[in-house]
């Protein structure tokens, strides 16, 4: 199933103000339809808050959230055309893989034959065939995130929010997951908001980067521009710091 990116679902934060439990934040930005946008910035810059606002876990003080021109600001999380993957706790620990994915079809787990076929296809797409009966604790960290991705496929919502879901995976597994993400994104023309700390992740999968500092968007542009000679000063400073910090920790 593919759609024309132009007609697809962009995510628009329209003068969005939010202040509860943190310093005041203000977001005014568009995430283009059918592309992966990396959301970057230092800890506390508001990356997770931005995702939580789009998902509906937080309520803004003022402003609007538009997804594909539909105002979703007042909708509860389950009614928004959005799926989200967290860093951990994406799965219910006492339910097996198939049931965890099945919850994406029906929140009461009453599954039809058609549902079962959709679930089987999603599990096969994410390389989990044969692991339907496993419990989350019997899976590796990478496999758990694959189950979460399978559920995203089953739910079939046009927008995917990723809150550092590969942060705790080793380098090789992370690259595997990034490639799988890019493939799935292309197949479904998903609009992806991808929070990450790793500049190389952004370089690998993202077309755009949105850079946050102190609760506001300070730069938003194509990835090449960010990493090119004329990239935003704040961003260069941020990845420079990352590299020197990294070097210091190593020595």
């Amino acid at each position: 199933m593919t759609i024309d990116p132009q007609a697809g679902t962009d995510v628009r934060l329209d003068d969005l103000h939010f202040s509860y439990g943190s310093s005041p934040m203000r977001f005014d930005v568009v995430f283009p339809a059918g592309t992966i946008s990396a959301v970057m910035g230092a800890s506390g810059s508001g990356k997770s808050t931005l995702l939580n606002l789009v998902a509906g876990f937080e309520t803004p003080d003022s402003g609007r959230i538009l997804i594909g021109n539909e105002d979703v600001t007042g909708l509860p999380p389950a009614l928004r055309p959005v799926s989200m993957m967290f860093q951990e706790n994406n799965l219910f620990a006492h339910l097996d893989v198939e049931k965890n994915v099945g919850l994406g079809c029906s929140p009461s787990l009453s599954l039809t034959d058609a549902d079962s076929a959709v679930i089987a296809a999603a599990l096969s797409r994410t390389g989990l065939t044969g692991k339907e009966r496993r419990l989350p604790r019997e899976l590796s960290g990478g496999e758990r995130q694959r189950v979460a991705l399978a559920r995203v496929l089953v739910r079939n919502r046009p927008v995917l929010l990723l809150d550092e879901p590969f942060g705790s995976l080793g380098p090789a597994l992370r690259l595997d997951m990034l490639d799988l993400l890019r493939e799935v994104q292309a197949e479904r023309s998903l609009t992806v908001l991808f929070v990450t700390h790793q500049p190389e992740d952004a370089q690998r999968v993202a077309e755009h980067i949105v850079f946050l500092a102190e609760g506001a968007v300070v730069a938003a542009d194509r990835t090449e521009t960010f990493f090119g000679e004329g990239g935003p000063a704040e961003f260069r400073h941020y990845i420079g710091d990352e590299i020197t910090n990294f070097a210091r920790k190593r020595t």
């Binding site: 909708l75 999380p77 389950a78 009614l79 055309p81 006492h94 009461s108 739910r155």
Partner: protein
């Protein structure tokens, strides 16, 4: 692809808006129920106080002064006699982290907490009473006829039986918080046992001491059953027993009002002092984990520690063993076929089950409401969160006998006073068990909510679906623990039923008290064994569910 969502999701979405309100509603109903129970009791006291103000005032006589004095005096003595030996015993156990039977001793020290007070009282009488197991040797020793243990000495023995093991466990817990590096350092520096005590062990225990002593004092000030059964007369009467006597024997409600108000004032005062001391009144039933301590006590110290431990062991094990020995001599074949016993057992179990279910429902509602209001903004939500959270623990300030007395006075003219006995037992015991049940359930509830709230909101798993698929599997262990614990508490309670009980409505503890009163000692001992075993089985189950849920 369009953004349309399935119609079922729409219906669930509507629930999403109201679900947090439903959690708040459940909490509000629970709080209202508690408030009504306590408020009704206070109303009864207030109306009677107004109606017969002179009578209430007249209760302020020398007898009252004596009762208040005795209440405080026995509590002070019990606390001193429990806590000071506990320091010695806890230190001895801590100095020997590994020896055969240590785990058994610690388990045994957890037993008295689970035992109904009336069972312990019977055990002590079976051992030290006029016809007790030790009566003959004690008579020979004192050179006269052993009069049996009653009055102040009986009360003290019983209170120490309950509280010495409790204080020992609390202090041992504080000793186990000393980092193992400190023990290593002490042994490297060649510290003598005395300087180890002065520099390491005492500072650790000193922190836990106010809390442990405060808790023991509180338990002794509100002790009812022990004083009723072992006090043995007006010379050794506390406020709680005086309330009971004023209502059941003297039919003097105005006096009872005065006693009740004083008892309330006393417990509130003790609670305030406890809060000031920063005492943690939580009773942790976990077995302390012991680390290696790199100490090698000398021969003299080892022998001394062994003596302390054996003495404490004998003190705790004695009454328990006597309960078993005396209980086994009862004629169970007759006892168990007696209609009164069967009736009382059935009544006890039915009331305990109802009370435990109610207690768990109230605790769950409060945990859910606290969680729901924690996610909300604004002052009312903060206030509600505080009330549903810490506030719930303050029902412990109101002793069951106070609630019972208030309702007894309020209802005494309606003619319904004895027919409400079952309801009173269920409600009061449910509320009294509630803080402990919350302790069992809330951590698991909050952890499950923390893990699952966002995911469930995202996937639209709400209401009944959420309960069935997500929450029940995570909470059934803690709920079972809470149920078993609340049942044990309710089964052993004598406070409310002592006021409201009658020939028509008897529970096992009430029947036990009646048999004791009519000197049918063998029957009483048999019933005590039965009741003790029931409660221990429940506590054992609670513990099992608790550890299973934690793994």
């Amino acid at each position: 692809m369009s953004l349309d969502t399935q119609p079922t999701a729409k219906a669930d979405g509507f629930l999403a808006v109201t679900v947090s309100d439903r959690r708040l509603l459940a909490g509000a109903i629970a709080l209202f129920g508690i408030a009504a129970l306590i408020g009704g009791a206070f109303l009864g006291l207030l109306l009677e106080g107004i109606r017969d103000f002179g009578g209430a005032l007249a209760a302020f006589d020398s007898y009252l002064v004596r009762i208040v004095w005795f209440t405080l005096w026995q509590a002070v003595l019990s606390t001193v006699l429990s806590v000071i030996p506990a320091i010695v015993v806890a230190r001895a156990l801590s100095r020997h982290p590994v020896f055969r039977g240590r785990a058994f001793i610690l388990r045994l020290f957890a037993l008295p907490l689970a035992l109904p007070a009336i069972v312990a009282a019977l055990g002590i009488l079976a051992l030290l009473g006029r016809a007790g197991l030790l009566a003959a040797p004690l008579s020979a020793l004192s050179g006269g006829i052993w009069p049996g243990i009653y009055g102040l000495s009986g009360i003290l023995v019983a209170h120490v039986f309950f509280n010495l093991p409790l204080a020992t466990r609390l202090l041992l817990g504080s000793l186990d918080t000393v980092p193992s590096d400190q023990w290593r350092l002490a042994s490297q520096l060649g510290m003598t046992p005395l300087s180890t005590f002065r520099l390491i062990e005492w500072p650790a225990m000193r922190n836990a001491l106010p809390g442990a002593a405060g808790l023991v004092f509180m338990l002794c000030v509100t002790s009812f059953t022990i004083v009723l059964t072992l006090g043995g007369g007006p010379a050794a009467t506390t406020l709680e027993v005086a309330i009971y006597q004023a209502l059941r024997f003297d039919f003097d409600p105005a006096r009872a009002v005065t006693f009740t108000v004083l008892q309330m004032a006393l417990t509130v005062l003790v609670m305030l002092v406890l809060a000031r001391l920063g005492a943690d009144t939580a009773v942790d039933a976990n077995l302390p984990v012991t680390r290696r301590k790199f100490i090698a006590p000398g021969y003299a110290e080892r022998s001394l520690n062994a003596v302390f431990i054996v003495l404490a062991l004998a003190f705790v094990a004695g009454p328990i063993a006597a309960t078993v020995v005396a209980g086994l001599s009862a004629d169970f074949a007759r006892l168990l076929t007696e209609p009164a016993v069967r009736q009382a057992t059935t009544t006890s179990i039915v009331l305990a089950v109802l009370s435990a279910l109610l207690s768990v429902m109230v605790a769950l509602s409060l945990a859910a409401a606290r969680r729901a209001s924690a996610a909300k903004r604004g002052k009312p939500a903060r206030f509600f969160e505080a009330v549903a959270g810490t506030g719930a623990g303050f029902v412990l300030v109101v002793p069951p006998i106070v609630i019972g007395a208030g309702w007894f006075i309020l209802l005494r003219h309606t003619g319904a006073v004895f027919s409400v006995a079952p309801a009173m037992v269920v409600f009061v015991n449910a509320v009294m068990a509630m803080p402990f049940v919350i302790r069992a359930i809330r951590p698991a509830y909050d952890a499950a909510a923390e893990r699952n709230d966002r995911l469930c909101a995202q996937l639209g798993i709400l209401g009944w679906n959420r309960m069935r698929l997500i929450d029940w599997p995570a909470l059934r262990g803690p709920i079972a623990t809470g149920l078993a614990f609340a049942m044990a508490l309710s089964l052993g309670d004598l406070g409310v039923i002592a006021l409201f009980g009658s020939d028509a409505v008897q529970t096992l503890p009430y029947l036990l008290l009646a048999r004791m009163g009519s000197y049918r000692t063998d029957d009483a001992a048999g019933l005590a064994l039965l009741l003790g075993l029931l409660c221990l089985a429940l506590i054992f189950l609670a513990d099992r569910f608790g550890t299973k849920g934690a793994s």
